[in-house]
């Protein structure tokens, strides 16, 4: 790497800069403005490099770790707007630290487990804070955080039988999921429900009956997925759709070439990072929502035509993404950001680092290859593309939960009770097959 030219040198040629063809609109003005701020970042880095020689783009680990550790402990009153997202705050910090190779101390880990226990409700699932109604998003965040911590106390905290009751109560007849009682319904609900159900081994066939067909109604003419049928293709929702389909072993329903084309086109030719939607601006968080699609797509395509697939790279420019993140998205006071000029936050720190991890680690059935931009020390641990927790954490949690029986529906009012008895058998069958595809992702991502 040291000898090779950095991708960002292209800004000196001006070739890939946006041209408005004489038609200036809100979109083109915004785009040009962002390119200028990115150009400043890249140019000043290149100028420094010309003067001082070898300094490669460096990940400021120490600053980010300090920022995250502080956040995990206490937050200023500016965070009251996230008072209904505290398990998210926990997950963003814990996962980002995990990617940076930081293990929480015993006390920190115990504090997290205890706090998440306060967010878990007797009727199943987790709320956005102690005493708040259960909601699928904080449920997903809490389960992921506990899986990352991975201690017996952490994994055993999750009440699987009430969890599955909660998931069932969020399910609609058509197979989609509400976020909470009386709450909104979109593809995030499906992903959060599928992800936690698979991770903790509580999935049954009736719980997700028709869900894949609802997801497929969200693949738009552009190829990406939308939050709800009819809406515009969007990075975050596309990740939710593809990951959920894959976890439900129904990826064959997806129009893969259209999705691949859409995803590939979301990488910005000038900035190197990803945008969330067509003709929108680059944002560091899409490094994961879009970048994370590529490992999943690679695995899916390998089942069809492995011969044409690269055995060395994902189908996006991994160097360009890393340079965008390293040179444009690190805040001088720690934490990572959306784009130059923005303030850091825990959400962006988590998803920029998750995307960086995807860009650094290529894995196919045959091999693992690291492709780290900058000094070797920039390397993060590999993340599991379907759950976005560390691969090792995902593997050991699935092993643990798969050794436990799938909880049987306890509610006598449940109309599908008769069906559920057969579900258990189905699920037994499913668990064996389930270990396969999700394990393909599991094992292929384990660093060898």
């Amino acid at each position: 790497m040291a000898e090779e030219e950095l991708w960002c040198n292209h800004v000196r040629q001006n070739k890939d800069k946006f041209r408005d063809e004489g038609v200036s609109t809100v979109s083109s003005i915004d785009q040009a403005r962002v390119e200028t701020s990115v150009e400043d970042k890249y140019s000043s880095y290149l100028d420094m490099k010309d003067m001082d020689g070898q300094e490669q783009p460096r990940l400021h680990r120490g600053r980010h770790i300090a920022y995250l550790k502080k956040g995990l402990t206490s937050l200023s009153d500016r965070f009251t707007s996230l008072d209904a997202s505290r398990p998210w705050l926990v997950y963003w910090c814990v996962h980002a630290l995990e990617l940076l190779g930081v293990q929480l101390s015993k006390e920190e880990a115990a504090g997290v487990v205890e706090f998440l226990g306060k967010c878990q409700n007797p009727n199943g699932g987790f709320g956005g804070g102690p005493g708040q109604y259960s909601h699928l998003a904080p449920t997903y965040a809490a389960v992921n955080a506990l899986v990352i911590i991975g201690t017996p106390q952490a994994l055993q905290l999750i009440n699987r039988s009430t969890l599955v009751e909660f998931l069932r109560s969020m399910r609609t007849e058509e197979g989609s999921f509400r976020m909470h009682e009386g709450g909104e319904l979109d593809i995030r609900g499906v992903y959060c429900a599928v992800s936690v159900a698979r991770l903790t081994n509580v999935a049954t066939e009736s719980l997700f009956a028709n869900t894949v067909h609802w997801i497929m109604r969200c693949q738009s003419y552009e190829g990406g997925f939308s939050g709800a049928p009819g809406m515009e293709a969007h990075g975050g929702y596309t990740f939710c759709g593809l990951a959920a389909l894959t976890l439900l072993h129904a990826h064959h329903l997806c129009h893969t070439p259209a999705l691949l084309r859409w995803a590939a086109n979301r990488q910005m030719k000038y900035e190197g990072g990803f945008q969330g939607r067509t003709n929108k601006l680059v944002d560091g968080c899409y490094s994961f929502w879009q970048g994370g699609l590529f490992p999943i797509l690679h695995t899916l395509l390998a089942q069809e035509d492995v011969a044409n697939l690269s055995t060395e790279r994902w189908m996006f420019n991994q160097e360009a993404l890393q340079e965008y993140l390293l040179l444009c998205c690190q805040h001088s006071r720690g934490g990572l950001i959306d784009k130059p000029g923005k303030a850091s936050d825990f959400y962006h720190t988590c998803y920029t680092l998750s995307g960086m991890s995807v860009a650094q680690h290529f894995t196919s059935t045959a091999r693992h290859r690291t492709l780290v931009t900058g000094p070797k020390d920039n390397e993060l641990i590999p993340t599991h593309a379907l759950y976005n927790v560390g691969v090792e954490a995902a593997v050991s949690a699935t092993q643990y939960f798969n050794s436990l029986p799938v909880p049987i529906a306890s509610s006598p009012a449940s109309q599908t009770e008769a069906g559920d008895a057969t579900d258990v058998q189905d699920t037994d069958k499913q668990t064996t097959t389930a270990t396969k595809p999700s394990c393909t992702c599991d094992t292929t991502q384990v660093k060898t």
């Binding site: 009251t80 707007s81 996230l82 738009s220």
Partner: protein, 333 residues
């Protein structure tokens, strides 16, 4: 209620200085009419993580909110309390949900609720809860007469607000208000031909109304061509074009003379990656249908893939190499 409190405080104040609203905020624990309620503190546990340094006013409001939820109180004062709680954190879905329970229970004036909700939307246009609340209330009222206008107001500040678009689609579909929708989309595209949300809305509107009949396909292809002729390097209409021709039974290139149109642009020196990509699609279609032409078309196709990978769309080099290999594999000898 709050105004009354402030008034009271201002009147009792000894000094004559101007007192701003913030200075006179009376904590719930100091309000006489709440004296019967014991506040319920948040149980964070002794070793809480992500501990937020709440202001006293925030803690106070939420302590009373928790108490109200615990006792199941559904009164006017509880309704007002939820308003304060929402003002302090509009993303607290528990508060919104409890507020809806109270509204239902009291049979409150929902028109008034819409006004409050609009204020909240204006202050938090990218918040899931405010838009969902609006949807529930409008669904209860069965009156969507002001809803399109509201989203248009939001779009005048941000024409790509996802929440507002999702809400608008729900309104259009639920209350069958599609009549002026294509004209509205036209106006938005006139303002910004790169507004992908508007292009998506065009697709949505047609799907929900006429569907892509042969006539509509002709009309739309014509529309897209004009948009592309205005700005070629604009991915949105190219994607939309693909979305439109998907619906035709026959061959892709014959619709609206697309093949010749693309060739002319290409021969005129146009090398936008979107044009090149579309040409590859046309050729792929040709190879599917005319096996005899495969060798020559494939050769041209692969050349374009190489040009994209090495010159016109370098960032997507890996993708274009894969597409090239895939095409050779499918159509090669």
């Amino acid at each position: 209620m709050r105004e009354a409190q402030i008034q009271l405080r201002v009147m009792c104040s000894n000094d004559d200085e101007y007192v701003s609203e913030e200075d006179v905020w009376v904590l719930y624990k100091d309000r006489e009419e709440w004296a019967d309620v014991t506040p319920l503190t948040q149980d964070d546990g002794p070793n809480a993580v992500v501990k937020i340094a709440y202001t006293d006013a925030f803690t106070d409001v939420y302590d009373y909110f928790r108490a109200v939820v615990a006792s199941g109180e559904m009164s006017e004062r509880a309704l007002e309390l939820t308003e304060d709680a929402i003002n302090m954190n509009a993303a607290n879905y528990t508060v919104w949900q409890y507020r809806r329970k109270i509204l239902k229970h009291l049979g409150s004036d929902l028109k008034k609720e819409l006004a409050f909700c609009r204020e909240m939307i204006e202050m938090n246009p990218k918040n899931y809860q405010v838009w969902h609340h609006r949807r529930v209330i409008v669904d209860w009222l069965k009156d969507a007469s002001k809803e399109l206008r509201l989203t248009e107001m939001i779009f005048s500040q941000d024409a790509k607000n996802y929440h507002a678009w999702e809400y608008r689609q729900w309104v259009l579909r639920t209350f069958k208000l599609f009549d002026g929708e294509l004209d509205y989309v036209d106006r938005l595209l006139e303002e910004d031909v790169r507004n992908n949300s508007a292009w998506n809305q065009r697709h949505f509107t047609i799907t929900q109304t006429t569907g892509f009949t042969p006539d509509v396909i002709q009309r739309e292809v014509h529309y897209v061509k004009k948009a592309i002729e205005k700005v070629v390097n604009n991915e949105s209409p190219w994607s939309y074009l693909r979305g439109v021709v998907q619906h035709c039974d026959g061959r892709m290139g014959s619709v609206g003379d697309l093949e010749n149109w693309c060739r002319q642009m290409y021969e005129g020196g146009q090398r936008s990656p979107y044009l090149l990509t579309f040409i590859i699609d046309l050729m792929e279609d040709k190879m599917e249908h005319e096996p005899d032409l495969r060798p020559s078309v494939l050769k041209h196709c692969l050349q374009i893939c190489i040009c994209l990978a090495t010159e016109h769309d370098q960032i997507r080099q890996e993708y274009w190499r894969y597409i090239g290999r895939n095409l050779s594999h499918r159509f090669g000898a």
